[in-house]
């Protein structure tokens, strides 16, 4: 048996299956160049090929696939936002997510958990009622629940928060709230795009964008120059690096957002628990680790450094909610980049430069939007105008004072 296994392993007839090709050279010209090999860029490439038959596409990734925001978020999917534009957009994403493992033939460990946003004051309970009513009006499963309901559903929770913080008055409960394996989302979209002819070039940074007469003419990369008339920037926390090359001004500022995981535990926390007052969101991954995210770091920074401040404060807040975690060790912590907009909504669609499309401003809400942003950006590029779901999110809303105040976003005080 071991010999047969060895022969099988060494046989050229059964090579190790690869997720996607590693093309060696860049072509001199592409129909569309996508900057950023994260979930959003790869999803856009996938839907360009699948829905619109545009396959002469290159995805350029400076590092490795899914190494930016895609691999650094806390993997929560939900649609209980506050604005109509936000609710419709994120719910379309959630619906794509529900069927995505099957569509991409890849187990994304999509797991519906139910999402609690805790209220520690009557003011935040009032905002939650507002959110619940907006959600219900748009057909989203969302309701305000009592402390008794929370305690019954999550017996380990301490409703008094150890007396260190304001007690829990209630919560916004969103049963479809889910978590997924975020790396797998990027890989699955990459495989789907690759099998339809899209080229994925890792270790390929963009150093300049060639703009002539207000139109995109090409892209300069660390591996040579490419001619193209359509460029999608899908780099979230790195967007200001790209817009600097084009001279576009945007409202984006980048703050780090930190997260950590604990050592793996037996499954005990079935739900996702979020508290804006305690700057904490908490869920248990399919590996058993508790995944905890915090609020934004208090000042602008384009770095992935972790701080002791964060580890200290979030550990304290986790204990306020779940005193039973006192003996649990933190396994690792990290930071991601949040490119924040003043209205907590993304920037999507066309820009004043013809052929230059933005998929940016993903702040703390990017992962859950992965499928729908890929889908709508592909539509936008193929048709030369925004998909109806993202019409409110264009860059020119800031010129027209047409903001989309999204107070349902994560890690945003309301």
């Amino acid at each position: 048996m071991p010999y047969r296994l060895l022969r099988f392993a060494l046989s050229k007839k059964y090579p190790e299956p690869r997720m996607f090709r590693a093309p060696t050279a860049l072509k001199s010209e592409y129909d569309v160049v996508i900057i950023g090999g994260g979930g959003h860029g790869l999803a856009a490439a996938y839907y360009l090929a699948k829905e619109h038959g545009i396959t002469n596409v290159a995805v350029l990734e400076k590092g490795y696939l899914g190494g930016g925001g895609t691999g650094r978020n806390t993997a929560i999917v939900r649609s209980n936002y506050l604005t109509e534009a936000g609710v419709r957009f994120y719910n379309a994403s959630l619906e794509l997510f529900q069927d995505l493992s099957r569509e991409l033939d890849f187990n994304l460990f999509y797991s519906e958990r139910g999402h609690f946003t805790l209220a520690h004051s009557s003011a935040s309970l009032r905002t939650q009622r507002w959110r619940a009513e907006t959600n219900k009006h748009l057909g989203i499963d969302s309701e305000v629940v009592s402390p008794e309901f929370i305690k019954k559903t999550i017996p380990e929770i301490d409703l008094t928060c150890g007396g260190h913080q304001a007690p829990i008055y209630g919560a916004l409960f969103h049963p479809p709230g889910a978590i997924a394996r975020h790396d797998a989302v990027a890989w699955a979209y990459a495989r789907g795009a690759d099998s339809r002819g899209v080229e994925i070039h890792q270790q390929t940074g963009v150093t300049g964008i060639d703009i002539r007469d207000g139109k995109v003419a090409g892209v300069e990369t660390t591996r040579g120059t490419i001619k193209t008339r359509q460029v999608l920037s899908a780099v979230a926390g790195w967007t200001t690096h790209i817009t600097k090359m084009t001279g576009l001004r945007t409202p984006l500022v980048v703050h780090p957002l930190q997260a950590l995981v604990t050592e793996p535990l037996k499954p005990w926390l079935n739900h996702i628990v979020v508290s804006a007052v305690l700057h904490t969101y908490l869920s248990q991954s399919s590996r058993g680790e508790l995944v905890a995210g915090a609020s934004l770091d208090p000042y602008e920074l384009m770095s992935h450094r972790s701080t002791l401040d964060f580890a200290e404060s979030i550990s304290g807040h986790m204990l306020d909610l779940f005193p039973c975690l006192g003996q649990i060790k933190v396994l690792r912590q990290w930071a991601g980049r949040s490119d924040m907009t003043p209205d907590f909504s993304p920037i999507m669609g066309r820009t004043p430069i013809e052929g230059f499309y933005l998929d940016a401003g993903w702040g703390t809400w990017g992962f859950k939007a992965t499928p729908i942003s890929g889908y709508t950006m592909a539509h936008t590029i193929a048709h030369g105008r925004e998909h109806e779901l993202i019409r409110s999110f264009t860059l020119d809303r800031f010129r027209q004072f047409r903001l989309v105040g999204e107070k349902g976003a994560a890690s945003v005080g309301h």
């Binding site: 602008e300 770095s303 490119d339 800031f398």
Partner: protein, 91 residues
Amino acid sequence: MKILPCPINGPRPIQEFQFGGELRYMPDPQQASDEQWADYIFNRAGEPGVKREWWNHIPSGTWFIAERDNVTDTILCTYLYGERSDEDGSR
């Protein structure tokens, strides 16, 4: 511990400070076009590099300017607003 030198109180832990965003100059509201005004209200210099920023030392209520590299988080210098002649602010 990250230390920020306050121009009045000397080096203090960064937890004592509040970030106030980049130093920006308001165009004359009577003269500015809608476009200039929208640019002032919303747009920011969010790209990597050395920025001039407002910071507040909370215990003493001192607002001042820090020149900081927003990639390496290095503070180059701090000073009170108006102490530098290269500021182009007219107010």
